[in-house]
Amino acid sequence: MNIVVTVKQVPDPNTPANLLAIDAAARRVVPPAGIPPVMNGYDANALEEAVRLKEQRGAKVIAVSVGDDGARDALRRSIALGASEAVHVEDAADLDSSSTAEVLAAAIGNIGPFDLILCGRQASDTDGGQALFGLAELLGLPAVSPIKKIVGIEDGALVVERITEDGTQQVRVELPALLGVSSEVNQPRYPAMKGVLIAKRAQIPTWTRADLGLAAAERRVEVRRLYVETREARTELIAGDSPAAIGTHLADRLRETGII
């Protein structure tokens, strides 16, 4: 079984908001120098699930990432965590979702036959959650996302549990297919020393758009402006001699202003 996992390097989602700078001219968010980027959390879940399938059933796991040199860190980590191979596709780190889907589709076409593509359900930078579906559409694949469990594999199909707005679906999807993985699916492992050593020596090829026969990216979504929204509020503090008096006064004030 050949499994492709798409991974993306993102600014650490635990970066405090006040440390994110905005480069207004370039229309990009600049994370602080001291906090290194990380592999997108849901992508780590997708990779972990692929590696578990590899361990349980035997599979080749190929990690793919589109981006600048930073993407290579995510790929090296993927190998350390158990991916068999990794491919870096060189492009802008802040490509829009449609362009990312196109580049991934071309790269996966170049990798060769596959049975399954595992993606994170969305990436924590913009939480767009659409590149995976664009990729499925371009490759003519069925997609199921977000999934919280792979229940089983049988007769060229997967049975998975999908999260819905108000519950869960059990879904059967024919292979080859693409799955968007949610964090409920597993708890990603930490890299073992052996994996780290393998990753250090691993050859990770870099493909360019030209290698994939692609022209320059045509962005279909452009950032117009980035800003930090400040909510104008002149907070009225409720007075009172004791916490209980403050509680009573708060209710009175809400009544006076017609709110309750």
Partner: protein, 323 residues
């Protein structure tokens, strides 16, 4: 004269509240662009839903109705959506943001080689451009986007706009869609019953608690305040992670986005992630022992002190006032 298309959302034949919000946003766009407003609806047995949706002020409503649309699969909905785009040739198409629309809107974008912005909190016309706004980086930053391509696609988060008021009523245009080979089959579906009381997503009053409530044994304070105000119970991620309440109550970017008239935050510091879920609350009350907490700074009213002493007196007085 262009066309603005608004898709409704009707799981199990019932029109979702997000449909009217998207219709209102679409109507404002159509007015600003001098375009006509049309609707689209895909589902099974959606006759009644279509009638209700038409009242949102559209000249035509394109409807693809059939057993094949329940439950939703990406292939079927993308094909139906594509047929509707073909029929009305819009310059802009909006969708309510759900786990389902996210798939088929993205598939339409890929099919039509155009751009899509998901989970928008605002879609407006500014300087002649359709501008789509959404929080990014966990809500720390707000991004404005423009789409290059036709149609310009956006999904809109629940609570992003006031629902549409009734407008001119047009007529339904049935859409036939050719057969689609779907390789996805839903074997079974379970719905988890949500929390008791009003639904968090549409509640007019939400009372939410955080770590400052002081422990699971004090959580009843939040529930009592919600009951006294006739509101829904919400929670910060910290307390749902601790299991004081189920994650169905979580308010914030990764939980439920709410847009109540009154949001009472008890012992919630106001992390970016949480605040991103309440930006459309009209009045925010912060009950918190820290006067410098982020939530206090953005609140309309601040009650500073120990929640365990303030809340019982507040509840008592609210009960008297609301008699």
């Amino acid at each position: 004269m262009g066309t603005v298309l608004v898709f409704g959302d009707a799981p199990r034949g019932k029109l979702g509240p997000g449909s009217f919000e998207v219709a209102a946003a679409g109507r404002a766009l159509a007015e600003a662009l001098g375009a006509r407003l049309v609707g689209g609806l895909v589902g099974r047995d959606v006759g009644a839903a279509a009638e209700a949706f038409l009242a949102a002020g559209m000249v035509e409503l394109y409807v693809a109705d059939g057993a094949r649309y329940e439950p939703c699969t990406g292939a079927e909905y993308a094909a139906a959506g594509d047929a509707i785009l073909e029929a009305c040739g819009p310059t802009v198409a909006l969708f309510p943001h759900t786990l389902d629309t996210r798939e088929w809107a993205a598939r339409l974008a890929a099919r039509r080689r155009t751009g899509l912005v998901t989970d928008c909190v605002r879609v407006i016309v500014d300087q002649g451009q359709v501008v789509m706004t959404k929080p990014v980086y966990g809500g720390s930053v707000t991004a404005e986007y423009v789409v290059r391509g036709t149609p310009q696609l956006a999904t809109m988060r629940a609570g992003a706009a006031e629902p549409a008021t009734p407008g001119a009523v047009g007529h339904v245009v049935p859409i036939d869609v050719g057969p689609v080979a779907s390789r996805v089959r839903v074997l079974q579906e379970t719905t988890e019953s949500g929390p008791a009381g009003p639904r968090l997503k549409d509640a007019r009053v939400v009372v939410a608690g955080g770590l400052g409530v002081g422990g699971a044994e004090h959580w009843h304070l939040v529930e009592e305040a919600a009951a006294a105000l006739g509101g829904a119970v919400g929670a910060s991620r910290a307390v749902t992670d601790l299991g004081w309440v189920t994650s169905a109550h979580q308010v914030g970017l990764t939980g439920t986005t709410v847009a109540p008239d009154l949001y009472v935050a008890i012992g919630i510091s106001g992390a970016v992630q949480h605040v991103a879920g309440i930006t459309r609350a009209k009045t925010i009350v912060a009950i918190n022992k820290d006067p410098d907490a982020n939530i206090v700074r953005m609140a309309t009213f601040g009650a500073i002190g120990d929640a365990r002493a303030i809340v019982p007196a507040f509840v008592e007085r609210v009960k008297q006032l609301r008699g």
